[in-house]
């Protein structure tokens, strides 16, 4: 088995075992209702995590994701509720703003040659501060378009509901997987994460790819912000604090190497579902407190980091001994 597949398989197996155990304890967890809610409740996280997958695959990191979600929520809410824009035009504006925002971060990372985490940290401060400067309170959104979207639901047998935003996440994952694995841009992203020097010698447009990756991440974060505003029908500057950490965790637990170059978009989906499972389990249990989520995520993160370390260190690329026999 190719070694990049191993963490993914590990994630999938852990998810199946964990889910089976949970179902054995609470048979109620095996229902279309719970599965449908899985998708809805984690939609914004999942969408943001797809963007984060690209960033991490390229060897970077994006700490601004949560702040962009919060900023987008506020921007959309203000445009709709205060300025009277139609939600669709508000969405378009928000996505455009995010694209510019991500593009600038990408430019800074590439041309100033500084670690991505410090640039996106500045981005986080900027987006969070910007949102708070616009408003410090939660801005409710009541627009018929929002009610209409909430009513778009596919009912499943067994009482489950597939919501619009849940399906949006699934669609983003499918498109994301196609882009990552079946386009030239995707191959450039992996190339960058594998070895930027080689990539550039092989003709990968490094600047364009870097900018594209951060642009994609910010746009998806903005989409996540829109989804979040559909989910909560409000915009709040301190919304989604720390979501970047959840997204990073989902990506890593989903089998993507944090140093870049290896991983799958689908893995991130399983990672997000695993995080959702932990949360749902804790809610079902009732006696466990919410902080266990963080602790379990931390433990999973640790396990996967060590696992990757073992898999990727044992046979470092280029070691002759492996094949000489």
């Amino acid at each position: 088995m190719s070694r990049s597949l191993r963490p993914l398989v590990a994630t999938a197996i852990i998810f199946i075992i964990a889910y089976s155990l949970a179902v054995m304890q609470f048979p109620g967890m095996f229902s279309t209702r719970v599965l449908g809610n899985f998708l809805t409740d984690n939609a914004f996280l999942g969408i943001a995590a797809v963007g984060m997958t690209f960033v991490i695959l390229s060897g970077g990191i994006d700490l601004s994701v949560g702040a962009v979600i919060g900023f987008t929520g506020v921007l959309v809410a203000v445009l709709i509720s205060w300025a009277g824009f139609h939600p669709l035009s508000a969405f378009a504006i928000a996505l455009l703003v995010a694209a510019i925002f991500g593009g600038v971060m990408g430019l800074a990372i590439h041309y100033m040659q500084v670690p991505a985490f410090i640039v996106t940290l500045a981005g986080m401060f900027l987006a969070r501060g910007g949102a708070s400067v616009i408003t410090q309170d939660s801005v409710p959104i009541s627009h018929e378009f929002y009610s209409w979207i909430s009513s778009l639901i596919i009912r499943l047998p067994g009482g489950g509901r597939l919501s619009f935003i849940g399906l949006t996440m699934v669609a983003v994952f499918i498109v994301g997987a196609l882009v990552a694995h079946r386009t030239k841009f995707g191959s450039y992203v992996y190339a960058l994460g594998g070895n930027p020097v080689s990539a550039s010698l092989m003709g990968v447009p490094v600047a364009r790819t870097t900018v594209g990756v951060y642009m994609l991440s910010s746009v998806l974060a903005a989409l996540a912000g829109i989804v979040f505003s559909l989910y909560t029908s409000a915009g709040y500057p301190l919304a989604a604090v720390g979501v970047e950490l959840d997204a990073i965790s989902a990506v890593v637990i989903g089998g993507t190497l944090l140093t870049g170059g290896y991983g799958f978009v689908l893995g991130t989906f399983i990672g997000v579902m695993l995080l959702g499972l932990v949360q749902t389990y804790i809610i079902f249990d009732g006696t466990l407190s919410s902080w266990w989520t963080k602790i379990v995520i931390g433990v999973l993160l640790f396990l996967f980091i060590v696992l990757q370390r073992l898999i990727f260190a044992a046979s470092a690329p280029g070691e002759k001994a492996a094949e000489k026999g």
Binding site: S187, G194, S198, A199, L201, M202, G318, K320, A322
Partner: protein, 505 residues
């Protein structure tokens, strides 16, 4: 005027960096269907010339012509468009991606805007077949040996460029069978009309595969000749600029009695790194280590110093068995080690010359008996003077010094610890003549002062000059220990080559 014979030509190239002339009016012509070796010592200007041909550098003056037409080559992609492909010493591909993707990256066949993976893998299989590789194109490149990766790199370069192939030390980390396989591919490509530039350090390989040779020295083109017309001695003479002509042993051997045994390695080895060897080293002697790159000579040095732990055999120091599992074990017994890759493992680029000199001594003293600034200055000053380190100030960052001065600093670092045993891995590689002489002088002086030294060098006449014994490494194994009259380049070359090359005239 236009010589259409040349697939690629560099005419009157001058390249100046600051006040250093890297290339001085160099002409270089490459014909279709030839393998053209480019030879020169380190610093002769080979890599500068290659970088100009591939667009990484722009010449200060002069022209690059493809098929007789002047072309501007601004970057590697443009070079590719003019049919020039390059394979670098370290395989510059992506070990994390599939073989097929490495062949096609940036040029993947697409269907409906998506990469057509099936076609890409089918095409890859055809290409790989032509290079005699039967591997799964979908497999990860990093899972294959360096040789296979190297061939994939060549295949990519040829597929994308198709006219000129530049091979920059492609054989550095290959074993002999792999080199042979590479040569077959090169001959095959030559037969198909490709023009190939071949850069290597190994003369045997030049004579085995190349048609013509161009020799650079100090930024000037010395000679371009057909290899049928020259002997090895000619080539070496042209490269070194003097008639060393392998003058044979120098008189160091049996000149003086050896001191007592300092170190005794018995069946000392490490799996996958270096086969067990037995070697005793006396006080006041230099043991030279000869062997090609990848022969296990550096690995031998590393386990002697504890940089890698030995997993077989034992070592006795001054007659007592000791354990050397870490560099600190070695240093506490008075060992010192100047590694081959000065930049990666030797210098602390941002730290000052002073700190670079005292660091090993300070490491030996521990954290709490810190040398103060004055003491540091005194030590650094003393060795700076003794070794003739040319630095504007001892407080300047070492990375601003020339390679030769950096090497002197690293040597000083160990001398400051008052060592009993020094391991020098290629101490004179890539440094200027003056520093070279200084380091050789120092090696002689230290030997006379009673130190034991192990010196690894690929410059045979140099090793011959100061060694009292020479150990020859091949395929990670110590294959010969030469002394007395056997210390001469001819014998060493034969030992390295396992008598295969009768040409070591």
């Amino acid at each position: 005027m236009v010589d259409a014979d040349y697939a690629l030509e560099a005419r009157g190239i001058i390249k100046v960096f600051g006040n250093h002339v890297a290339l001085d009016n160099v002409d270089f012509g490459l014909r279709a269907g030839e393998i053209h070796a480019l030879l020169g010592e380190n610093g002769a200007g080979k890599s500068t010339l290659i970088k100009i041909l591939t667009g990484a550098y722009q010449p200060t003056t002069g022209q690059v012509l493809a098929d007789g037409v002047p072309v501007a080559v601004d970057n590697p992609q443009q070079a590719q468009k003019h049919g020039i492909g390059t394979v670098y010493q370290e395989v510059n591909l992506l070990p994390n991606r599939s073989v097929a993707e490495n062949l096609f990256l940036g040029h993947q066949p697409t269907r409906f805007g998506l990469v057509d993976r099936r076609k890409m893998e089918r095409d890859s299989r055809d290409i790989l077949e032509r290079y005699g590789l039967d591997i799964d194109p979908a497999s990860e490149l990093g899972a294959h040996s360096v040789a296979v990766q190297q061939i994939v790199a060549i295949a990519r370069a040829v597929e994308l460029s198709g006219k000129v192939l530049i091979l920059d030390e492609p054989t550095a980390s290959l074993d002999r069978n792999e080199v042979e396989r590479l040569f077959e591919i090169m001959r095959d490509l030559r037969a198909k009309g490709l023009a190939i530039v071949f850069i290597t350090h190994f003369l045997d390989q030049v004579f085995a595969v190349a048609d013509r040779v161009t020799i650079l020295r100090n930024g000037k083109r010395i000679e371009t000749r057909a290899l049928d017309d020259v002997t090895r001695t000619d080539v070496v003479r042209l490269m070194l600029g003097k008639d060393v002509a392998f003058s044979g042993a120098t008189g160091v051997q049996d000149a003086r009695p050896l001191g007592e045994v300092l170190l005794d390695f018995r069946n000392y080895g490490r799996k996958r790194s270096v086969h067990p060897f037995t070697l005793s080293i006396h006080k006041g002697e230099v043991v030279g280590v000869a062997g090609l790159l990848g022969s296990g000579r550096t690995e031998m040095a590393r386990i002697m110093f504890g940089a890698d732990a030995a997993d077989e055999g034992e070592v006795h120091f001054e007659g007592k068995p000791v354990s050397i599992a870490r560099p600190t074990d070695a240093i506490s017994k008075g060992f010192g080690f100047c590694p081959e890759d000065r930049k990666a493992e030797g210098i602390f680029g941002d730290l000052s010359v002073r700190e670079n000199i005292i660091i090993a001594l300070q490491g030996k003293l521990g954290w709490f008996s810190a040398l103060n600034r004055d003491e540091q200055m005194e030590i650094a000053g003393k060795f700076g003077e003794a070794m003739d380190i040319r630095a504007a100030s001892l407080d300047m960052p070492i990375k601003l010094l020339s390679g030769g001065n950096q090497q002197k600093v690293i040597l000083s670092r160990w001398l400051a610890t008052d060592p009993a045993f020094l391991i020098l891995d290629e101490p004179t590689r890539g440094i200027d003549v003056g520093a070279h002489a200084e380091i050789v002088r120092t090696i002689n002086r230290l030997r006379d002062e009673g130190l034991a030294l192990v010196v690894i060098s690929s410059e045979l006449d140099e090793v011959v000059a100061y060694s009292s014994r020479i150990v020859v490494m091949r395929d990670r194994e110590m294959v010969a220990e030469l002394s007395g009259k056997d210390i001469n380049p001819g014998v060493i070359v034969q030992a390295i080559a396992n008598h295969k090359e009768g040409t070591a005239s």
